[in-house]
């Protein structure tokens, strides 16, 4: 290979890149700006999350619905506002002023206790929610279930309504002709025990004050959320993923310009001049791939470096793996650019198609949102894309804190893609000039 010509061609490409300040700004600042935005959206810092806006429409007005509403209001995860009824709640949710609304129907307080012991129809608690905020609605549902169970069970075991319902249930059990005698006896004993418990709980200093069933049922466990990152105590940094995704995207965008640059040179006659020189054609393409790879690596380092310096992105796993991935992806991007030049006809058409292809590659590769959110079949299918390997690999060595062993397969796949793209370029490139 003519090393002098090769190095002159690479230096020329770098000089051309840096001579266009707008292109430099676009290549370096744009990924940082977009990554910062995505990182902010997906940072997962729940401690800073705003409480969920919840409306409560208490059409019952009974003691239980009032107490449940009070408990919801006291919950730190919720921001509760009372509304007059179901229609107002629906309207407010439709306008997007609340994530969800709970509607207590008339006779909720009585119906819930009866349904607790007997076969009566259960009252329907309606949870109206904004369809775009399904996750928040699910969270409200969980909190609501906990408070309803605690309040209703306590009333059933120690409240005046519970006593009435227990006696009614005992009477029904004793008079039910269809009930087998053996079952009748067991159920009657159970209900008498409950009534006896209620009597004791009603006395001053009774069981109700010391806990037990009279205090109501409690959820028999507590939960804590622990994001699994590189190690315990290290919280997830959403910027790690977003900066990796945007670096992956904008490196390919820069590769497009490199490929299109060859087509522009072809059109302008420069390619004829280069081809007339005593340099093998392969050197011309290889130099373009090399300069593309170098600039891709620069974009990668600047983008990820900015994420580290400003947004706390850290390489929690293998630094060598991180560099191997960056280098392999840059080589792949250089080859991608040359392949575009081989397949493209005009600069304009090639640029348009290539931008579309790159956006697809990045979107399906998990550059915008993690691929784990995709349906299972899509998650598997996107393993055929180099961008998926790059993003997953960078996730592995940054916030997941995995070692070199997790980065090398991804780097290997990226180099295999680079080889494939180079072969396609060599096969399809129009070497001859008219």
């Amino acid at each position: 290979m003519n090393a002098r010509a090769f190095s002159a061609l690479v230096r020329k490409d770098l000089a051309l890149f840096f001579s266009d300040r707008r292109a430099v700004l676009l290549s370096l600042a744009a990924p940082i700006a977009i990554a910062a935005f995505f990182g902010f959206l997906f940072s997962g810092s729940s401690s800073e999350s705003a409480p969920i806006a919840l409306l409560v429409a208490d059409e019952d007005g009974g003691p239980l619905s009032r107490e449940i509403a009070a408990r919801l209001s006291a919950d730190a995860a919720l921001s509760v506002r009372a509304v007059s009824g179901a229609s107002e709640a629906r309207e407010e949710v439709r306008k997007g002023k609340a994530a969800a609304a709970v509607v207590f129907p008339k006779d909720f307080s009585g119906g819930a206790v009866k349904a607790f012991f007997g076969r009566e129809a259960r009252p329907e608690l309606r949870l109206l929610h904004d369809p775009t905020r399904g996750a928040e609605a699910a969270m409200v549902r969980g909190i609501l279930t906990q408070h309803v169970m605690e309040v209703v069970s306590r009333e059933a075991f120690s409240g005046p309504q519970g006593r009435i319902v227990a006696e009614e249930s005992l009477s029904r059990v004793q008079s039910d002709p269809n009930l087998p005698e053996r079952d009748r006896k067991v159920l009657s004993d159970l209900l008498r025990s409950v009534i006896s418990w209620q009597d004791r709980a009603a006395q001053p200093g009774g069981e109700g004050a010391s806990g037990g069933p009279a205090g109501g049922l409690r959820v028999p466990f507590t939960t804590t959320l622990e994001p699994v990152t590189s190690r315990k105590g290290v919280s997830y940094n959403g910027y790690a993923h977003s900066f990796a995704g945007m670096a992956v995207q904008f490196i390919l965008m820069a590769a497009i310009e490199f490929g299109v640059g060859i087509l522009v040179e072809r059109r302008s006659g420069i390619w004829r001049r280069l081809r007339a020189a005593p340099v093998r054609p392969g050197v011309l393409l290889l130099s373009r791939g090399a300069s593309g790879a170098l600039l891709s690596l620069l974009i990668f380092l600047v983008c990820m470096g900015f994420g580290m310096a400003v947004f706390g992105v850290r390489i929690r796993g293998s630094a060598a793996g991180f560099l191997a991935l960056g280098a392999a992806y840059s080589v792949m991007a250089g080859a991608f650019g040359v392949m575009l030049a081989a397949l493209g006809r005009t600069p304009e058409a090639t640029r348009g198609l290539a931008i579309f292809a790159v956006l697809l590659l990045v979107m399906l590769g998990g550059g915008w949102v993690p691929a784990i959110l995709f349906p299972a079949w899509l998650n598997r299918a996107t393993l055929a894309l180099p961008t998926r390997w790059a993003v997953d690999g960078l996730d592995a060595v940054t916030w997941r804190g995995l070692g070199l062993g997790s980065a090398l397969p991804a780097a290997g796949v990226l180099l295999a893609f680079a080889l494939l793209f180079s072969l396609v370029a060599a096969w399809r490139f129009r070497w001859e000039e008219a």
């Binding site: 003519n2 002098r4 010509a5 190095s7 002159a8 061609l9 230096r11 020329k12 000089a15 051309l16 001579s19 266009d20 302008s268 006659g269 420069i270 004829r272 001049r273 280069l274 081809r275 007339a276 020189a277 005593p278 340099v279 093998r280 001859e432 000039e433 008219a434």
Partner: protein, 318 residues
């Protein structure tokens, strides 16, 4: 046609694209210190011929000899003695004149002081030394053309292929480029110059090859071609007063020895087979019709007429 020189020779070059034969059995030779004009209309096959000579494309048949050695795709180093000045302004506009030349010099193996000296020499030669550090995008069309020429000369090639190097430049810049080319010729360089401007070929070239449809139609000096093809001489008369209608023009056309007449903007042009023999008849016809002349001139047979005689069409026809 056997090449007569050793600087550059082509033997039976043929190139086809699908059903189109762009170059059809072209043979030519170029000697040191000679300017050979390759003349033909657009689409004649000039640029493809240059591509074949420069090794940009492989011929389907025939061969190119550069300094006596066959130009082969697997031996690109042989192209070191060849310079190409493409028809397009093949320059990086975002780079300075010096940066452009440094790149092209490096492609030909120049480095260090030799490269620096070559760049300075090239820029001085085309009169752009004082603009060495300026971006090419700030240059005028004529300056870019001159730099385009310098980029092809940087490595001091023995043979220079110039593919319509004056397209789109003003007369002043064109004359400057001609002067540079004549200087190169005087230094023993062999120049192949393609053009579709007759006057350029006539003025600049020692020999002219006329091409059309990929084939060489004729070769020789401008004078020998005109003589060989018995091309007509031309009479140009500025008319200061003429009668109404076109009867007097038909009168001129009917004079024996007149091959063609045109009349436009007060100017009469008549092609005569022989000026001495047929000019009196034309003047008599004009006098008889009361046409008054304010000036009169004659030109020898031109390449334009040669081309017309060879191909039956004007040189600038599409």
């Amino acid at each position: 046609m056997e090449p007569r020189a050793t600087a550059l020779a082509a033997k039976g070059l043929t190139k086809t694209y699908g059903n189109l034969t762009a170059v059809d059995g072209v043979s030519l030779g170029l000697a040191p210190g000679e300017i050979l004009g390759l003349l033909g209309p657009n689409g004649a096959g000039k640029t493809t011929t240059v591509s074949l000579l420069a090794g940009l494309t492989a011929p389907d048949a025939g061969e190119v000899l550069l300094g006596g050695e066959v130009l082969r795709e697997d031996r690109p180093e042989a192209k070191g003695s060849l310079g190409l000045v493409p028809q397009e302004l093949a320059l990086y506009e975002a780079l300075s004149a010096e940066e452009n030349l440094r790149l092209f010099g490096a492609l030909y193996g120049l480095a260090g002081k030799a490269l620096t000296a070559a760049v300075e020499r090239g820029l001085r030669f085309v009169g752009l030394w004082d603009r060495a550090g300026h971006k090419v995008r700030t240059f005028s069309g004529g300056m870019k053309r001159r730099l385009n020429l310098a980029a092809g000369l940087l490595h001091d090639p023995a043979v220079l292929l110039l593919d319509e190097p004056t397209v789109g430049v003003d007369p002043q810049s064109r004359n400057a480029i001609f002067a540079l080319l004549e200087d190169l010729k005087s230094r023993g360089k062999a120049l192949l110059y393609t053009t579709h401007y007759m006057e350029e070929a006539e003025r600049l070239c020692d020999r002219i090859v006329i091409m059309d449809h990929g084939r060489i139609l004729a070769e020789g000096t401008a004078a020998s071609l005109s003589e060989k093809l018995a091309a007509p001489a031309r009479l140009c008369a500025q008319i200061s007063g003429a009668p109404e209608g076109s009867a007097w023009i038909e009168e001129v056309r009917s004079v024996p020895g007149v091959r063609g007449v045109s009349w436009e903007n007060g100017r009469l042009v008549a092609d005569l087979a022989d000026v001495t023999a047929h000019l009196p008849g034309v003047l008599e016809a004009l006098r008889a019709r009361g046409v008054r002349l304010s000036s009169l001139s004659t030109e020898g047979p031109g390449l334009e007429a040669v081309f017309l005689a060879l191909t039956g069409r004007e040189l600038r026809d599409p």
